[in-house]
Amino acid sequence: MLWTVAGGLFAISEGLFAVLALTQTPPEIGVHILMGALLLAGTALMYGLFRHAWPRLAPGGVAVLEQLWPLAIGTLAILVLEAGIGVGMKNAPLDSNTLLPQHPLAIAAVILATTAEGVFAAAVLARLRPLVLFRSRRVPAVLWTVMLVGMLATALTLLSARGPILERPEPSVPALLFAGITCLAALVLALRQGWITTLSPRKRLGAGLIVLIFGFALLVFLYIRMKGLATVAIYGDDMAFLPVSFIMSRALAGPVTLVASFGILFSATTLLVLLFQLPTAGGTTSQDTERRALHSLVSLSGGELDREAIAKTAVAAPVDAGLGDAAWLLLTHVRSGIVKPSLTATHGIEESIAEAAADGPALHEHAKEIGSLLLDPATIDHRVHARPGDGIGSLVALPIGGDGQDQGLLLVSRKTVGAFSANDVVALETFAAQAGLALSHGELFEEALERERLSRELDLAREVQQRLFPQTLPSLPGFDLAAAEHPAREIGGDYYDAIALPGNRLGLIVADVSGKGTGPAFYMAELKGIFQSTAPLANSPADFLIRANEALASSLGRGVFVSALYAVIDPDGHLQLARAGHCPALLATEAGPRFLRPDGLALGLARGPLFSETLAQESVNLAPGDALALFTDGLVEARNSQEDFFGYDRLSEVHQAYRHLPAEQLRDALLEKRNAFASADEPQDDLTLVVLTYTGNQSTALNP
């Protein structure tokens, strides 16, 4: 939108001029001033717009060249334009009285030239500003404003300048003053060449070339405006020449000259600085190198925690910062078992070449000892196998390690021999140290993630296991039931369940899966599902176990088996029991203790008929007061410090002795005796215990 305003200002001014020229009416002083003022305003506005449109200078020097090229090209363009206009205008002279062009084409040419100069001046200033004010503090910025104001002030004093044109008018005192201030400021600013230090040697060459073209073109531009091609002939008394740019208004021409002069000054200073600072083979100033090292470190501190991303940055950053031509990284990864440093990332070099270029492990061993290794020339070292075409003239090997850990080796190469200065190596060492830190941080983070994931897995498995056990035990008449489960430290494979079956019968199951960990817990969950759904439908305990064996057959892997014992008791005390490879059940009666141990294979050991053929079933009639105990081997296999087992004998003794207690107390007594026996130092198995005291059917008690 504002561009339209700027364009409008130019348009009005030039429109006025066109009218005046066509009618050959010399403008009044007021109109003349107005035209000049409009041009100045338009140019100033355009400068502001250019400044905001063009981005600030990016670090690293890449964008600098992109900014410079347009300068050179633009100057050449305007040079050609003005020369062309001047040549064309040779045949279209000004009227000596009105000093206005007569031919419409000449009018157009003048307008074109004036507009072009205005735009050019604004653009050049805007383009040069970021270079001049690179990393500046207040003073240079103020000086820049002073220079611009000076240019504007000079221009304002020239607004009314319309004297005899055969001689150059004496510049007025104010004009000289303002111009002088402008030139002083311009001089100081032109010396600001800090932007050059961000460039690597190669980029400096490019910059120098561009600036040379730019500066030279400006010189020519100035010359032809004043004296040469871009002047217009005035016929009349004497052949005289007037610069095209003066025709519309001298006010604009003034600043344009000042801008061009500033540009020339700046270019000259740049070229001088480049000439004197241009590095000899390999040498750069230490400040330079430090800046570049810092720049590469900034890339690393982006907070990357991903090992691969860090590796990629670690090889790209030194090359981007100009500390090397190519880089590759060899890393160990102890957690994955990679003890020998192996190629992890490359930049500026093909993987196959990097692999073969040097004996990484050998260099790594040496570099670990002395801190960093400079091989120069690289190829004469016996550990470097690079061939001439690989582009490895000099090589730096840097150990990568953080927090005292050794992580691997960073190799940075340059194409030519003698290309690394001592400063370069120091910068690379700093960088390598930082890379090592970044890697070890990433490592720690990964480990923490892993631990959390593992602990969550364990928590999940424990939760699953807890849900396997019944939350409440069924309460049926005639039965007093109690249970306990104590998984060992690892997630165990024990399971028990109690279910009320049709006819007020009670079904009790205890099971034990081979192995420990999250796998067994999930087998148990499956068994629970089978039990809950199938037990009520089974005809007998044996029938259930046969169905369970079939159902589990496909899930259980080879070598995995589940032992289980299933008992069904009627309200009148009739007990049926089948045992699939599990510990026997223990029954305490008036007559004494007795183990119920019918034959049977554990689940998962045999598919097909072998299981059902070899599975037996036992039946017993319980009397009131009888106590039944179902358990897993953790109860009897508890060890003491002499490595004796608690055993079946001790168990049956205690069970028999306390059989008259209510189920809960009987259970506690058994557990107490077992725990008292067991040594806390020995690893113990999962413990599961179900105790049933048969209190008898009311009706049978009353009606024996």
């Binding site: 490879g581 034959d599 045999a606």
Partner: protein, 116 residues
């Protein structure tokens, strides 16, 4: 913690693996490797001498189960002999005597092979 070892000896009718120590989750893999070596070498008529086997856990039992089918598919067998009473009890509880042949002594097991 657990000392466990497997040693071989060749007899006319079969190959004998002598197990010593505790066969549990930590040592089961060693037993696995030994059995796999026998299979790879074509030795499929095997007798386990368990006289010095002090303990076997479900992991150890799992190894027996894992190999019995491949062995029998190659017309061989895995017979178990001379177990200590407590160790035999562990096998017996699970019903292993239904699946494997158990003998009081290695000689009996060997002569059983000769009969086949």
């Amino acid at each position: 913690m657990s000392n466990f070892s497997v040693s071989f000896r060749d007899e006319d009718s079969a190959h004998v693996l002598t197990l010593k120590g505790d066969l549990d989750a930590h040592t089961a893999s060693e037993f696995e490797v030994a059995l796999q070596n026998c299979l790879d070498a074509g030795k499929t008529r095997l007798v386990i001498d368990g006289a010095k086997l002090d303990y076997v856990s479900s992991a150890g039992l799992g190894v027996f189960m894992a190999f019995i089918e491949p062995i029998r598919e190659q017309d061989g067998d895995l017979k178990i002999a001379a177990l200590q009473e407590s160790v035999f009890e562990i096998f017996d509880l699970l019903g292993f005597p239904i699946l494997f042949e158990f003998f009081e002594s290695v000689e009996e097991a060997l002569s059983r092979y000769e009969q086949d």
